[in-house]
Amino acid sequence: MNAFWIILTGSLVATCCSLLGCYLILRRMAMVGDAISHAVLPGIVIAFLFTGSRESVPMLIGAGLLGVLTTFLIEFFHRYARVQADAAIGVTFTWLFAIGIILISVFAGQVDLDQDCVLYGEIAYVPLDLWITGGGLSLGPRTVWTLAVVTLLIILFIVLGYKELFLTTFDPAYAAAIGISTTVWYYSLMTAVSFTTVASFESVGAILVVALLVAPPATAYLLTDNFKQMLLLSVLAGILASAAGYYLAVWIDGSIAGAIATVTGMEFMLAFLFSPARGILIKRKQLQPVQH
């Protein structure tokens, strides 16, 4: 049963992250995703100090807002202080992450988080924290419920805003010309990334969030030329990695998050080498552009 809950948790995280990751990598913003996933840490610690729990809605919202603030901060450094774009990202997230780690050390007694957990989570403990109703009925791990709600919200967001997200990602100038606000959709996307990160953080840690934001979408991007298929394939790749990663971790007795990240890397390598259309080891006759 524990294996089931852990794999389910991993799959839910994988679903949210992979879906949003597709937009991030096509917008060339993979590293902004990386930055957000690190930068929410101080928000999580502070929210934890105030609410004293990990699962509360205020904590989710408070920490999620910090993620959005990160994008503003990067934007501010870049636009107003004129720091070079990549440096703005690097400075912002390392700084916020450092604050988070220091807060954890300072409030070690009050905060039930440790430095290592921040990096690779405690997915193995997910099944221990059960949600038990007043009547004594166990409804399964709390984290799964939180993640399920977040996953539903993310899917809803992508379904409802499908065409706007698609257009603003592909051709922002045209979108602006026909009156679709690129700013609104940019920040909506970043908000979604923040909340996903916060919800996933405690179970899988910062690194797995990055791995799932980047690797499954990159794998899918090598396998298909259809955007809807890319979304689906990356979710599949993410879920597969969660399951395979769990068993890999059990086998070598290591961190589950680390193992899942490793498997996403292997998936990418396979696609990179053997993708039917673009694998570098596949000598298939490619459809060449018609040259006039």
């Binding site: 990598i25 590293m31 202080a81 390392t94 780690i101 430095q115 690194i207 971790a249």
Partner: protein, 427 residues
């Protein structure tokens, strides 16, 4: 406070070593970071930093010891592989660079984590302390470790000095470097190697997770203080070294604290202050400059108004009341009063019982503004073919910015004109 003096008296040999080590480590990575920053590849350092973790773990598993040279070697190898992987993925597929960096970073780190946890769970007694690579611990920098890491740091600095000219050219103008026969590819490899080395030594102090900050942040901060590369390198090294010492101090006084985050926090504060307050490029100094421009515009406008009022009265120098000035142009009263007072203090105008009077100096300056205004209007109509009723607003700004050289040039191009497009005399 006692600890502070204890630490900075350097009486304890341990403290001396740790301080020296931190300075070398943080300083040398900051120097290399300048080059990666200028090549716009700052985040690549982040990927390398995360990628050294599996190397360290593998080296430990294979050798079974914590010999710093062996761990360094392992770190170096996987760090290098990560850079090659990023280049390979971007050149051989349609994956873009940011995705490749994120991918390599998280996957290598994932592999590192799984190895690290496997080692920890294996119950190997020798393993304790490997996890200090995650967040760094300057205080543990003693004996063999210190010698190894410092040696690499010194090598790094020497190599940077030796190839200073070549690396500079590579960063500023790669294409030009190629045309004049520099081995660009080899230089790229050199910089890559230096980056990996910088990461490998830096992680001892700050750990892999935050290593990116040691490469990026001091360089980004130094960039705000100077445009000269040599000075930028020195500043970045100083900023890095300072935060290194601060980290060592924290590590000394609070052994439970991870050093890395403190170093990063300090260096980030320095960077943020630089972004905000560095003279010239800083945000605040830009705001101040914009404010100064506003004051300049206000003062020159007042002088111009007084001059124009005089013009109406056939150039006689007569005083004008506050009302007269505001009637000609709506300036908020308060602003106008302060402006006039300041101009009075500077000796451009005098207050007489009948109103404000231009001094000789003020007369000349007001005249110049009016002249520039009309010259620019004429320039716009003649060279830009703007209608004469559209040129006024533009001239309202430009009149304040034209330098004497440009003024001379304008006069020449316009053939020393007498009248502006509205047939007003150009003084």
């Amino acid at each position: 406070m006692n600890e502070f003096f204890e630490f900075f008296s350097f009486a304890d040999a341990n403290v001396r070593y740790v301080t020296l080590g931190s300075v070398l480590l943080a300083g040398s990575s900051a120097v290399v970071g300048c080059f990666t920053l200028l090549r716009k590849r700052a985040l690549v350092g982040d990927a390398v930093a995360h990628a050294v973790l599996p190397g360290v773990c593998l080296a430990f598993i294979l050798s079974g010891t914590k010999n710093p040279f062996i761990l360094l070697l392992g770190a170096f190898i996987t760090g290098w592989i990560s850079l090659l992987t990023i280049d390979f993925i971007t050149s051989r597929s349609r994956i873009k660079e940011d995705t490749a960096i994120g991918l390599v970073l998280s996957v290598f780190f994932g592999i590192g984590i799984i190895l690290l946890t496997a080692i920890q769970h294996s119950g190997n007694a020798a393993q304790s302390g490997l996890d200090k690579f995650l967040f760094g611990k300057a205080a543990s920098l003693v004996g063999e470790d210190l010698i190894a890491f410092s040696l690499v740091a010194v090598l790094l600095l020497v190599a940077t000095l030796l190839f200073y000219k070549e690396l500079t050219l590579l960063c500023f103008d790669q294409a030009y470097a190629k045309t004049i026969g520099y081995p660009v590819r080899a230089l790229e490899l050199l910089l890559t190697t230096l980056t990996v080395f910088a990461v490998v030594v830096g992680i001892q102090a700050v750990g892999v997770v935050l290593m990116a900050a040691m490469l990026i942040t001091p360089a980004a901060a130094a960039r705000f203080w100077t445009d000269r590369l040599s000075l930028m390198l020195v500043l970045a090294a100083l900023i890095g070294a300072f935060s290194g010492v601060a980290g060592a101090f924290v590590s000394y006084t609070a052994p439970a604290m991870p050093t890395g985050p403190w170093i990063v926090l300090i260096v980030s504060m320095i960077a943020t202050l630089s972004f905000a307050f560095a003279p010239g490029k800083g945000w605040v100094s830009r705001l101040l400059r914009q404010r100064r421009n506003k004051t300049l515009i206000l003062e020159e406008n007042l002088l111009k108004l007084l001059y124009q009022l005089g013009e109406q009265k056939q150039g006689t120098l007569a005083p004008h009341t506050f009302q007269e000035i505001l009637e000609r142009r709506a300036i908020p009263q308060k602003l106008a009063r302060t402006g006039l007072r300041k101009l009075g203090n500077q000796g451009y105008i005098e207050k007489t019982p009948e109103g404000w009077l231009l001094t000789g100096q003020g007369q000349r300056r007001g005249e110049r503004v009016v002249r520039l205004h009309r010259l620019w209007e004429l320039y716009l109509t003649q060279y830009l073919h703007l209608a004469s009723d559209h040129v006024h607003e533009d001239a309202e700004t430009i009149e304040h910015i034209i330098t004497p050289e440009l003024e001379q040039k304008l006069m020449e191009e316009l053939g020393f004109p007498v009248l502006d497009p509205h047939s007003a005399r150009i003084p």
